[in-house]
Amino acid sequence: MASTSPTSDARAQFKTLPNRPQAKLPPIPNGSRIQKRPLAGPSPFSRPRINPSSSSSSNLLSTTADPDGYTPPPRATHTTVIKVSSGATFMSLVRRVRKALEKAPSHQTTKGLPLAARIAALKVAKPGTAGSSSSSSRHWGGIIEDALDDVVLVATGRAIEKAVDVGGFFTREKELVVLVRTRTLQAVDDVVAVDEEADVEDQVRVRNVSCVEVGMRWA
């Protein structure tokens, strides 16, 4: 857990967590049923990204906390976000993660380059990459360490299991660092009458949804 320190502080301040409310939602009225709306929040692809060239601290400060007091850190521009759906097959996810990891800037191969360039890369790359990664982590500091993820799997509900499975699969690889973070999202439900002809006004309610982010990066 990369960002435990700020969140633990936040947790200390909160007496009752919004995602564990003391009063439960009332039962749905008789003759009604729940109709789930798609998750409302911005797509995981469009979280504010930090660009090493044009970083601005104001952008980071503008983000506010989740319902459970967790401030999602911004992501780096290169981070690939994969939304895990419950129907996705395990191997397809693994393949997508691998592909994204291979493309990650921290793991650039010289495959396909001309021979001279490859040789040149051999000479230059070793100190260069190590230096750059360390300097960048120093530069960003602890709060945004999540931003160093090369691939992030995002899953809610039934798909959490799948995302964690895939994360577990990649923990076997020695040169990878796998981090799992939990979050809470809010979902909106419609309470509609079962009988479509019935003359009952529809209601709306908010439900908390568990979410898991599995971050993977080259060690």
């Binding site: 709306r37 798609p38 409302a40 929040g41 911005p42 989740d66 909106v188 709306v204």
Partner: protein, 936 residues
Amino acid sequence: MDGKRALPHGKGPEAKKRKDAPTVTKDGKPRPQDGRPTTTAPRSAKRVKFQDARNIRTQPSDAALDDGKLDLQRFLSTREFEIKALETSMRKCKTANATRVFQQVPRAMRRRTASHNVKRVPKRLRERAKREMIEDNTPTVEARKRRPRTTRARIRAETAKKLGILAARKKKRMLEKTAAGESSSGHNGLNQPMVHTRLARPKIRRDMLNAPPKAEAKFRKRQINKTWLPTHLWHAKRATMTAPNSPLWRFAIPLTPTEKCYRPTHRASGQKGVVVWDMSYMSTIGLYGTAHGVERVLRALGLTQDSLWGVRGQKWRAGVRKWSGILSKQVGDSRRDIGPATIVWNPQAPTQSDDATSSGSPKKPQRQLFIRTHPSCFLELFQELLKLVRMQTPQLHIEDLRFEIGSIELTGPGSTETLLGVLQPYYDKTGSEGRHSQVFKSLAGVTNPASLPKDALLAFSVKDPRLAYPPKRVAIPSEGTNAPLVETLTTWPVEEGLKSFDIFSRDCRFQASRLPSQKALNRRKGANAPGEPLQVTAADPPVPVMLLASRPSTDGQAQGTWTLLAPWKCIMPIWYTLTHYPLSTGGNPRLGGLNEQRQIAFEHGAPWFPGDFPATDAGLNWELEQRVKRKRDWDRRPKGKRIEWKSLDLGAGRKGEIGDGLACDFEHLFALYPEGSSQPHAIASSITDGAESMEIDAPERPGGTEAAKVTGPPAVALGLIRQLPKASFTSLLESPSPGKLPANSIVTINLSLITRGVANTCARIYRLPSRKPRIAEASAEAEVLATDPTSSTNPGSLPLDLRDQWLRKAPNANKGQGSRSRLAAPPQMPAGVDMEARTKLLAQSLVATELPYPRPATNELDIGGHHPLCPDEDDLLGFVTTGAFSLSEGKGTAVGCLSAEKALETVREAGAREGKLCIVRNAGESVGWLARWTLV
């Protein structure tokens, strides 16, 4: 060559093969010598370049031998040289490749004839393209300057020339006149108009059809039998349009973008991006009059649910929600569907509504509403409305607003973001920001319009989008801050301070259609500081828009759709800005055509109007047109390569396709044939048979034109079909007593194939055959159990266990059983038997042959030994109207129509689970596939 000179001993094998090119000097420039034509010189230069690049210089190793002694230094330097030569050659080959510059352009930017016209490649590559064209001696022809070949073209060219001369003469005369006027100078003031009249407001005649907007003179001749969309010129360059002589629904409609886009459209509509359509061809009808009269009219159109007129429909009637559904009309004693429509009410000012509710005041509340429908059913709906409206007292009125209100549709995760980037609310005074525009602006971060309240609607005025062109990417709040968004989505505060919507007002629409010209905007922009958006001035009218959010008709997590209604004349500026919006996920919105509309409906498993609604007049016409088209395509194929419907082998001795193979033959399903035709297969045989039956048919239909076919008997027969709504089907299913179904009624379903296979249009849908033998056979119950059950049946009748054969195909049925190809369950060794019994059983199984001895004819018991036979014709349920491989499901899915009566019977008999299994067989194929259908 340089290497050769550097090494005097060099006599490489390749060097011998190659002749020195005499025209090439040291620096590689061609020098025309020996009287060759200069045009070939660049070519030969290119060849030389290739040869030079491919040449790898080597050196024989004996060069390093000095008196039989190996000179190590020399030997090593030779090898070094060779390796270097190899490397340079590799590098050179790569650079001197044979590709031309227009091939490097990304696919979306490729243009037709880019190989012949440098202006078709992006500017940065134009120089290189020009050079390459000279090098390759590419013939360049400008279509404009080509000599006319046909008579028509020559006449046209001559006329153009004459007109040009005339225009020049006229211009000269005008110039002279002005010069004369300036010299006299007294008349100058008189020539200019003293009185400025307002622009003529287009007339909207009520209770009548209105003419399309008068086209520009240059384009008028092309719009005689059709109307162009406001974005026609934009689309015509980027999409395949309907053929000029066969417009669709009296419009020139983009069918599909010219670039390949099936998979990109799937992605953009579901995962990342946005697809946009110009849907201005959708027709809007305005209806206005007393509230009670309007209610009566709508009830007559099929909006009879009490929920619409009670508490639940309050928001709809207040004008903050829309209603979408199927309208219907009374035909005889049954109701026939007209088509899908969206109905929006114009909200009333609160004072008026108070009056209406408090007392029966003398002034009845006047309401106004829009009915937005599909152009294919517009005329039918308009006439039906006209009839209904005239019956009311006091009379209501309708307006044909087809060419007054245009629309754009967007779908995909980026759709809300795109709208936010393009539409900027217009406020005339500070603080007068409307509630709706506030709500709209707070929608940043919504990735799916389906997450808004059901049938949500927003109406406000926006600025001319060209003022802020090019559109900027909108700031999306970070993921953590979705609490205010969730708050908006739950409360949806749009009722506060509701005023009537501007888009309902004719004056507002007219004002908005007088946007400043692009030229004027450019002038203002030139005066402005660079990069600064233009300020709204008095010359920029507000553009009234309405946004409708709709969910996919099949409920789920699929993407919803935004529909943007705006005045017809404002569509083009909005469209132009829209297509250039930079999405936060990269790229721009994708263009969609009619086929993409169908594709997305199909991927959602939703029926598409009119194609999947054969029980409406519009759907009927569509089906008949498709039949004619399929027939034409079929006719065009050589005889050996087209399906001969009569000789199709369905197995068990059944020959010939059921009904017409080129049609969703509902006439055959319901045995609806015109009284005139004596034989039931008259329609089918005329198409299915070969030459001989054509001869027979010839006297019957001497014309054989398409028009005759469309208005002929099939239209009458198909017109008797009625659609049974989903709700009534489910209620019939739940009620214990078999209710009375309307005759010839169908239900729309979507089906997904369980195992394999893809269903195409016109595929036949069967139910599973019943277990009860149709012909009572006393023989061989025991025999069936003892040996292969199929062997005992008579030739020409279906196997008795056909249903079980099919059920075994379902994946959950044969869990644990390895063999899939076998129709019968393979014998398994019982658990816990000793070795002796095992050998015995094994010997038995080896001796006992599975194959029946007089070998049955092919396709007698099954199809090709792998597939069970298709059921008989009396198990035919319906037809697939749209079917393909679905990218969203990863397997074949389809939308189709079933006979309601048979479907009801099947589900009642076999239960909700097994009753919804069906067998789908493509027209002209004998193999069927197992599928499961669900009602939509």
